[in-house]
């Protein structure tokens, strides 16, 4: 708003200045020329008297009188100088004695040096010329040739027709001073007028135009913020009023358009939502079917695996049972060589059984990573149970089996059967590859995780085998040497299970000294509960 005010003031100011300036200049000019004319009239009268006196004195050749007149009149107020030339243009008398003896222009013009008429000088009464000197002063000059009249020539200088040339210059200092005074007054008047007008305009804009424009601005803001249909209460019958009415029309139009648009959008959105919902429902049905099929497939696979498992294992179990019956001498004495052969057969059946078990475990894990039964789980229960199943075996081997697990650990979110399997494999390996010393299982909370360590004092793993121990079917050479039976699946199954549960498994080992596995599983809060298909 300030800008508008300033702009209006500047424009009005410029117009005012131009007008006032023009008015003042014109007024000054008219006034000055009137002053000048007045002056010229006075000078004309004065110069006539002076000329008459000089002429009389010259004709009578009263040189003292002449000199008296020139010297006294020359110092009179308003008269700049008086000079008298002879026929040859030489100054014979002058109000300024220093000029006597000087010569006028070369061409014999009666005008003295510095008094040359200008082109645009004004001439009054055929004798008075108003002009500007080369120094820029305005002056009024009068030059006249004084002739020896006929009647005078009879008794005076009879031959001479021309007595000389009289040149007088009058200044206009008074007029100039008045002009300057008037000009200054005009300037002061102009400035005062400008300030007053500016103040009036400023107040007018502030109290008359500004509030209306502000109302329109507020209206624009309202529309901008979504208040369509807002009407500006400005009713003045001028450009701002017209702007306000135009604004109100636009506002109403916007409102109507908006309403139409909203209705359209609403319909479109409803349509879209309906389509999306239909699509979603369709996808949902498809997904449900996929889940159903997957579950069916899983169950089928589980059944198939169970049958294969049973049918492969059952004959083997029967063979081993028969072997045991023979070996234990139930059906008669067995000699040492026969016993040895039977034990070898038994050993290989063991290998087969282990292999079948591990393979089945792997297939089960792969299946279950698709369909898992995740639930809040107390890992200490799993560990106590799992370690318990190895108690007899450890005792048989003369190992100390330490279990340092608090009864309450933070709950994890996991599939129970999977967890049991993973820890069975890890602890089982520790027991299997330790011939003396201890196997220690410990668990504790560790930040957002439950950390379980399984440490043994067994054969250990060489540095080069360490990175491979989680590879499928990989068995370290020293492990093979200790235990012939083994598939190299146990640790890869364990790793897969742990990682499927957002956990990590790490191993540290020194060959010949022992191995420590560290398993970290996130606490239940840290994983999203998920069920079924993932």
């Amino acid at each position: 708003m300030r800008r508008l005010r300033v702009r209006i003031i500047v424009y009005v100011g410029i117009a005012l200045m131009l007008g006032l300036g023009f008015y003042c200049i014109a007024g000054l000019r008219i006034h000055t020329s009137q002053l000048l004319e007045e002056r010229v009239r006075i000078i004309a009268a004065a110069s006539g008297i002076i000329e008459q006196n000089i002429e009389n004195s010259m004709m009578r050749n009263h040189k003292e009188d002449l000199q008296f007149i020139v010297e006294n009149m020359g110092t009179a107020r308003g008269i700049e100088e008086i000079k008298i030339f002879d026929e040859n243009g030489k100054i014979v008398l002058a109000s300024d004695p220093a000029m006597i003896g000087e010569t006028a222009n070369v061409d014999g013009s009666p005008f003295p040096k510095g008094r040359l008429p200008r082109e645009k000088e004004a001439v009054y009464y055929d004798r008075l010329r108003v002009f500007r000197t080369e120094d820029g002063y305005r002056a009024i000059g009068m030059t006249t040739v004084i002739e020896n009249e006929k009647r005078c020539r009879q008794c005076h200088d009879k031959k001479r027709r021309t007595l000389g040339t009289l040149d007088m210059a009058f200044n206009t200092l008074e007029i100039d001073a008045k002009t300057i005074e008037n000009r200054n007054r005009a300037i002061i008047f102009g400035i005062v007028t400008f300030i007053l007008v500016s103040a009036v305009i400023s107040l007018f804009v502030k109290y008359s135009v500004y509030p209306e424009i502000r109302k329109i601005t507020e209206g624009t803001e309202k529309i901008h913020s979504g208040d369509y249909g807002y009407s500006v209460p400005v009713h003045s019958d001028d450009e701002i009023g017209w702007l306000a009415r135009s604004f109100n029309r636009m506002s109403m139009r916007l409102k109507r358009q908006r309403e139409e648009q909203s209705e359209k959008w609403k319909l479109e959105m409803e349509e879209k939502v309906r389509n999306a919902t239909d699509e979603l429902e369709k996808t949902n049905r498809e997904l449900t079917k996929v889940i159903h099929d997957l579950k069916k497939l899983d169950a089928m696979k589980s059944d198939v695996a169970m049958v294969i498992y049973h049918d492969l294992r059952s004959p083997l179990a029967a063979i081993q049972s028969c072997l045991n019956v023979v070996l234990e001498g139930i059906v008669g004495e067995v000699n040492p060589r026969q016993k040895d052969m039977l034990r070898r057969a038994d050993e290989d059946i063991d290998k087969l059984l282990t292999f079948i078990t591990d393979l089945l475990d792997l297939s089960q894990i792969e299946m279950r990573s698709v369909v898992r039964n995740l639930q809040p789980l107390q890992l200490s229960d799993v560990l106590i149970r799992t370690v318990g199943t190895f108690a007899a075996r450890a005792e048989q081997k003369g190992l100390t089996l330490n279990l340092n697990v608090p009864s309450e650990l933070p709950v994890i979110f996991a599939d129970k059967a999977h967890m049991e399997q993973a820890f069975r494999n890890i602890v089982g390996n520790a027991v299997k590859y330790t011939s003396e010393g201890t196997v220690s299982v410990a668990a504790q909370e560790d930040g957002g995780f439950v950390k379980t360590t399984v440490a043994d004092t067994g054969i250990g793993i060489s540095e080069e085998d360490l990175p491979k121990i989680f590879d499928i079917f990989y068995r370290a050479p020293n492990a093979k040497a200790v235990e012939k039976v083994g598939t190299g699946l146990g640790m890869s199954i364990a790793k897969r299970i742990i990682e499927d549960h957002w956990g990590t498994i790490a191993v540290e080992s020194v060959q010949g000294r022992g191995t420590t596995f560290t398993v970290k599983l996130p606490k239940a809060k840290q994983v999203q509960p998920q069920r079924g298909v993932q």
Binding site: H310, S314, A318, Q320, C322, N324, V325, E328
Partner: protein, 129 residues
């Protein structure tokens, strides 16, 4: 001898396994009856009223769990001790299965396959004493 007068029913679909157990039990003078599927097993229990039953799990016609559950529900036979035969590590899968079926198993003991004669005889003796 140890097994004098005690009648033991073996229920398993693997004849060779049954034979191995039978030989073992006979060596201790137990009286042995055999059945090769679940239904036959139930029938034999009702006919012979054995002193102890050794029961396989995975069998045709009738699952070991069903046989066990049926017998344990029947007040006449519920007092007969049952030893369940399972494969190595199989008991875990079986338990899972039973959990899914909502069954609880009231067998007196479990024996893992393959049969070790000494172990088998020890368990039987314990249950019959």
């Amino acid at each position: 001898m140890t097994g004098e007068g005690k009648k033991i029913l073996l229920v398993d679909d693997d004849e060779n396994l049954v034979e191995a157990m039978k030989v073992t039990l006979l060596s201790q003078n137990y009286e042995v009856i055999t059945a090769f599927d679940g239904e036959d097993g139930v029938k034999k229990v009702k006919e012979e009223k054995p002193d102890l039953i050794i029961l396989d799990i995975m069998m045709d016609k009738k699952h070991g769990y069903d046989v066990c559950a049926e017998l344990k529900r029947d007040p006449v036979f519920s007092s007969i001790p049952v030893i369940i035969l399972t494969g190595v590590g199989e008991h875990l899968h079986e338990k899972e299965w039973s959990h899914h079926q909502g069954l609880t198993l009231d067998a007196e003991d479990f024996i893992e396959k393959p049969i070790k004669p000494t172990e088998l005889l020890g368990r039987i003796k314990e249950l019959l004493s």
